[in-house]
Symmetry: C2
Subunit: 156 residues, 2 copies
DNA sequence: AGTGAAAGTGCGGCTGC
DNA sequence: GCAGCCGCACTTTCACT
C-alpha cells in the first residue's frame, strides 16, 4: 500500500496543511503551496490514491459529547497463547468504550485507551468492562489529569 | 465552550457520519440522516459553532511518510515542583517527535506517544530526545508491536 | 418561534485543451 | 497553466406546527 512513496517539499506542504484543516478548498490550498489549482488537485488525488492520505475525519470535542475523561490502562493477560490473545482482541474490537488498543512489547501487555463520562462511569468501564474481557489477569489504569499535547498527524 | 449541549438522535447521526468521513457533502449527509439539505446544513453549522465539532483533519498513513513505529513512554521526573513541570511541558510542546503527552495520576508521571522511523531512530528519540528533556529521572518505553484498534472519534 | 422543504445564485471541483 | 461544464454550498423564501 502506501509504503515507499517519495514526497517532495510541496507534497509535505500539502500534507501539513491538510492535517491542520482537512476541509481546505483546493484553490486555497493551491495558493498556500504556490501551485495552480489544477496542479495542486492532481497532487492531492495522487496522495489519496497512493494511500498517503488515509481519510478525512471530523474531530468532536469530548467534553461536548459528555466524555471528558481519558484513561490509559495496561492490561495483563493470564496466559498468552494465540487463542487467548485472539479472543481478547476480538472482544476489544466489539467494545465501543475502548477507543484504542495496542499490543506492546516487554511483558505481553496491552495498552488500552478509553473515554469516560464521570467517576461512576470510569469505575463501570474499568471494573465491569475491562476486567471482564476474556483472559484478563490485571488492569492498571493511568488516569489522565491533564492533556499537555495531542496531535492527529505528523510534522513533515 | 462546547459543554452541556443537548444532542438528539439526528445530531448523533450527523456526528457519527462526519467522524467516519469528514468530507461528506452536505447533500449526501442530509439523505443519510433523512433530512433536507438546508436543515442538515443548519445543524452542522450549529454543531461547529457550539464547538461540538472541533475541526476537520486529514489523516495520513504513518508508513507512507516513513514513521511506521509507535512507542508509548512513561516518563518520571526527578522532582515535581510546578517549575519543573512547566519546564518539562514546554519542552515537550517544542519537540516535534512527541505526538501526545498526558500528565497521569498515581505517581506524577507523564505518558508520551511518539512515532519513529526505524530502530536507529527509536534509539535516538528515546535516548537523545526524551532522556534529555528537563527534569527526567526515568523513561520506560512500551513499544507497540501491533495496533489492535485505533479510533479518532466516539460511537454516539 | 422554531423546523423542514423548495428554488435561485455563485463559487469551486474537476475534465477537457 | 487555462477554460469549460456541472454540481454543490449557501441564501432566501415559503409552508407547517
Amino acid at each position: 500500500m502506501g509504503s515507499e512513496v517519495q514526497l517532495d517539499a510541496i507534497d509535505r506542504g500539502i500534507l501539513n496543511a491538510l492535517q491542520r484543516d482537512g476541509r481546505l478548498s483546493n484553490v486555497e490550498l493551491a495558493q498556500r503551496v504556490h501551485l495552480s489549482p489544477s496542479a495542486c488537485l492532481r497532487r492531492v488525488k495522487q496522495l489519496e490514491e497512493a494511500g498517503v492520505i488515509d481519510r478525512y475525519v471530523a474531530l468532536v470535542n469530548p467534553k461536548a459529547v459528555g466524555r471528558p475523561g481519558t484513561s490509559f490502562t495496561i492490561i495483563n493477560l493470564e496466559r498468552t497463547t494465540p487463542q487467548v490473545l485472539a479472543a481478547f482482541e476480538q472482544a476489544v474490537r466489539d467494545v465501543p468504550e475502548i477507543l484504542d488498543c495496542f499490543f506492546v512489547a516487554g511483558s505481553n501487555d496491552y495498552l488500552v485507551r478509553f473515554a469516560y463520562r464521570d467517576a461512576e462511569d470510569l469505575e463501570r468501564v474499568h471494573g465491569e468492562v475491562l476486567m471482564h474481557l476474556p483472559g484478563v489477569a490485571r488492569a492498571n489504569s493511568m488516569l489522565v489529569l491533564r492533556t499537555v499535547k495531542k496531535t492527529t498527524g505528523f510534522e513533515l
